[in-house]
Symmetry: C2
Subunit: 785 residues, 2 copies
Amino acid sequence: AKFLLVSHESVLCFVPVGGCKADWRPSNSPKLIDLLDDTVPGIGTYEDFNTIDWVREKSKDRDRHREITNKSKHSTVALLFSISDAFSGWLLMLLIGLMSGALAGGIDIAAHWMTDLKEGVCLNGFWFNHEHCCWASNETTFQERDKCPQWKTWAELMVGVSEQGSVNVLNHFMYVSWALLFAFLAVILVRAFAPYACGSGIPEIKTILSGFIIRGYLGKWTLIIKTITLVLAVSSGLSLGKEGPLVHVACCCANILCHFFTKYRRNEAKRREVLSAASAVGVSVAFGAPIGGVLFSLEEVSYYFPLKTLWRSFFAALVAAFTLRSINPFGNSRLVLFYVEFHTPWHLLELIPFVLLGIFGGLWGAFFIHANIAWCRLRKNTRLGHYPVIEVLVVTLLTALLAFPIEYTRMSSSELISELFNDCGLLDSSKLCDYSGNSGGTSGSVNATAANGLGARLAGPGLYTAMWQLALALVFKMLITVATFGIKVPSGLFIPSIAVGAIAGRLLGVGMEQLAVHNHERKIFRGWCSPGADCITPGLYAMVGAAACLGGVTRMTVSLVVIMFELTGGLEYIVPLMAATMTSKWVADALSRESIYEAHIRLNGYPFLEAKEEFRHKTLATDVMRPRQSDPPLSVLTQSGMSVEEVERLIADTTYSGFPVVISQQSQRLVGFVLRRDLVISLENARRHQEGVVSVSAVLFTECDPPASPSAPPAVKLHNILDLSPFTVTVHTPMEIVVDIFRKLGLRQCLVIQNGRLLGIITKKDILKHMAQMANRDPESILFN
Amino acid sequence: AKFLLVSHESVLCFVPVGGCKADWRPSNSPKLIDLLDDTVPGIGTYEDFNTIDWVREKSKDRDRHREITNKSKHSTVALLFSISDAFSGWLLMLLIGLMSGALAGGIDIAAHWMTDLKEGVCLNGFWFNHEHCCWASNETTFQERDKCPQWKTWAELMVGVSEQGSVNVLNHFMYVSWALLFAFLAVILVRAFAPYACGSGIPEIKTILSGFIIRGYLGKWTLIIKTITLVLAVSSGLSLGKEGPLVHVACCCANILCHFFTKYRRNEAKRREVLSAASAVGVSVAFGAPIGGVLFSLEEVSYYFPLKTLWRSFFAALVAAFTLRSINPFGNSRLVLFYVEFHTPWHLLELIPFVLLGIFGGLWGAFFIHANIAWCRLRKNTRLGHYPVIEVLVVTLLTALLAFPIEYTRMSSSELISELFNDCGLLDSSKLCDYSGNSGGTSGSVNATAANGLGARLAGPGLYTAMWQLALALVFKMLITVATFGIKVPSGLFIPSIAVGAIAGRLLGVGMEQLAVHNHERKIFRGWCSPGADCITPGLYAMVGAAACLGGVTRMTVSLVVIMFELTGGLEYIVPLMAATMTSKWVADALSRESIYEAHIRLNGYPFLEAKEEFRHKTLATDVMRPRQSDPPLSVLTQSGMSVEEVERLIADTTYSGFPVVISQQSQRLVGFVLRRDLVISLENARRHQEGVVSVSAVLFTECDPPASPSAPPAVKLHNILDLSPFTVTVHTPMEIVVDIFRKLGLRQCLVIQNGRLLGIITKKDILKHMAQMANRDPESILFN
């Protein structure tokens, strides 16, 4: 090759002339991606625990779509195929909605039955739960719907036990035994068949959606075992919910159904769009709130959420919600989990207790995250982690022993929340609704108030008992939830958080109510209580408290308010909810920036690049790129001039997942980028199938042959695995911009150049390590690639 | 300078040694942006009709934030400033919500009063509208709320007119006169003071949000004139709505309020976040649907919508909705514009008519867009455009003349829609509710049905009249709206579209109802009608039709369904709405891809890069970049070696808005990028303020001085205006990826390199031109930069 040397203003540069024509206009030859289907199998796929390249996946899909569109112009069959391909996304959404809705319905029914099984059995048929058993009975009155002769507690079934004390002890014993059995089955099943089925799954799903590969996490075994063990775990009475795991179950359904559609099976990016929609479906069936589910997916879980996905998620979430409703597991043909209707308007001054609830929620969130992470770290780093079965059994035993004596902890969390959210009706027989006006007991001072028509809102003895029991239940729930979230059974924390918040809210609500009733002639409370009507709604306080606590733990904002709005159906109550959620988020964020999910992601060292938090430091690309100044220079390939042996040695000596290809070691002018996996597969393939390839064969990344002696062995041409459009930034690029590019484009790596020379490389892991370092954390905590 | 020449494997490269140290590790010196505040005024700002650089703006904001955070560690005052800065965003949102809510309330009240003024006047006080006038009166019965002696039509006021015919003529005359007066005032005000106040404003706001500068479009004059003329235009009875313009009004409020906050005044990107929230506020006050408003902003209007904005938009939308409610312009203390409550469930088979409505909506959408754009193009290209005042008056005259005779076109569109959405109550006196059961008129065959309890749903004569009038109103509205949208007064098309859909829906609904009643013994209709209850709800059909038509015109999906959900408050009706909206979108998309807003953006040639549509073509960066193969080479600056005169000549000879800076003309190794505006300002500044700068002074873009003769004039150092991290792609990068990068990062230009050599540049305009060309449109239709 000849080179023309041009010297101009003290700068030298080279212009290649003749030889292998480095034409600056590339021919419109098919790019790398088009050839993937025809080339060696395995190229273009990913290994486990690796990060995907969104740009590449999206290109692949666009190429696929283009091909189908082109073909559809030529034949009717291809046209039909093209149409069916376009609608396959909608069909898939429909199937996900149906399957998730059906599974959620099944889980609800089974959990309900097994929860009641801990207390007793139905004589009409053991498959009836307590409520159904008494529905079938004719001897039930409206007042005592849950008492009927067909339903027998275990003690009642045993012959000869009649004394009240031993009845209680026996019932308690049976309660604990069943709880232990369920928990034991759950943990054994998880350990034996699907270790990924434990926990809530949301941290992992967030990581997967951000472009990480965890094989089997959304597989069929995980689905089956998670579904079964979720029922067992919920029924065992542990302080956990099924909402988070339902998101995982919906994502498993989506992933499995994706296998029936080539478009989604083969493309990791497209599949993630479906998974984003599936997480909306999960929340939709958990709460019966489709719009809230979509916003949850958008705000909390998803990474890449194009508008098309928004629309499809909404469709799938609706289908799932209606499937669930037609199964009707709660027997009330309501769509939502906790249906409430309030009638009393709130007063402006009530914003003060609502903000107080927000502060409580924020503090609880920060405390819970801190304590739970500390506990999980202890489990991870000490011998405690070696005995997961024993841990589960101990936690279950503790829960069951302590929960049974108090009515509010014995009942399932969902029932408790329902009761706390409810406004007291006239015929309500619950202790929470034991007001003097209902019980009829009046004293002197009460009489005066009763004459005012307000006696109906003065607390009776039952309400005082309920308050004490609720206060105990609050402390118990707060402590046991910290120990429960993270044990090796499926466990969500939406319901426990809501329960904590609802208890706190109800306590404050009743307190406020009594304050208002007792001081109804004071100036500030005048106008709050009108005769015959409610003063204030303690149920609304429970709901606001629930939103605040859930907000503090998960740091959800809009989606949380929208979910609550869907539960109440009234825009009137958005302002209290919003005030509490906002306060809760601010308080919790002031104490620690991370939500529970992000904290668990960091604990597990997943390579998750948080999209919400801005990178605030003033570093440049050059501070992050590898190699560092003291390191050996970057391992690069040259576009020609390297032999098979040299390339293989480079692969063996390093662990990098990709190599830049340059024109020559000296010029360091960038040509492209090749992935390790593709390179290894291609070289193996060439060694096996291409004739005459030996260790000294040249490896070429150019389209044209350089002049070679005729006796040389045939060259291995790897032009087709070369990515000719790698992303580059200059050394001067601020890291905030680099981070932004990685987030928005979903990059896996980026090359760093200065004045046209390749200087280094930045991978997603480098960025995460750098961020950890800047936040004074251990950069080595980031595992995986 | 000495250079070390290294020859290796037939490649030459240079390694600078000594002299000006080209250290590959840049010192951590402050970057360009930090110095902006201290340097020449004007640097870092944009000219009118130019595109902003999002990356630069966001960097500016991050630097600002960092500076405040750093300072806050040193003094209490700075800490307080930092806290107030952090909360200024929330304060701004609060102010926007309050201001927009108040303005919307004022507009509603004024428009209501002026609409009634066309018909008559209140004797108790001319400032009462018809409804308020009769509220104040004691002589009103519940049945005829709108008839009271205090309200006089114009004919009644005139002495001596008593014959019915002349009363009607006189009322018609007064109606037309007032309409013409209002329209004349509106168009004159718009022309005289704020030409930007016409139209709906949404296409321009979309363009501005995507990063375009249109000075004055959101200014105070536009706000004042738009508010006044909107009232006039709505009152004149033209077929237009106030919803689109309310978005514009809210954005004007936001833009004006931004001026009081340094954070938002100085930063174009931050201001756009606020404007995104403001468009949510606009829809929130237009419909009383805060969640729908936020989703509208997210789905339809916004370009860059981080989660923080989502939360803030929601807050602002809620504040605005509650401000509006406390003003209570509709006098019903409802939050929503059209409050409806349905009680009858819908039947699965009814999905067929709902889908039919969807098809109608899609067809109407496609027809409307096509016809309206054709009409607007005619106006633009012919002499018609020279007489906007006459056009407005002619359209108003036509509307007023034709609308008066029919009751449904005479009333304001909002009233019409309310009536169409409403279910018929027992006491409803409207013609639409004239069923035989109500009127009491029964014939032989009806008797049999009446015995069944279904007589109440058989159409009476009033309903038949109403049907004919509605059919005429439908045709009238469809045609007049095409001519109206685009005339030089503020005009939204939400309300006209909803009206068209509601009329069509109600017609179909009543038809279905009569079909079901008459065939109630047929198998498919059995079970639809139960005695005493409604068979089907025609009001629901009206609502579904409205959603379908609005969807066809605007191509909104989720936000539309959510807005409608907020109006009805019941998840039950989401499925019909969704079925219709989905069908409508598919039908309309099959006929033409663009929504009315996008069509208007294209008509006006705004540089808007659509984020929804994927770029499907298989072109590469090299096909789009300038210079083309036949063109002269790219105009570049060298980092040293150019004189002031040379640079000035380059500026004078070209119109490019920026120049790449390279090491030398021969090597074409990229150093950075400098904007024309910054360069011009800096050179002028140097000529004026720097001593000894003459035409032969060197212009340096490096930090270090190259050796120069001591007698040479002082060099102009422009290192601080050089962007050292310009975005680059390789020539081989597929355009789909380039388009993606431009969209996601909000770039203004991107440099194209091959093997380290700068080859060309791609600007946003180049991409838009290329896209126009690929879609077989005129690439020159893209105006502006």
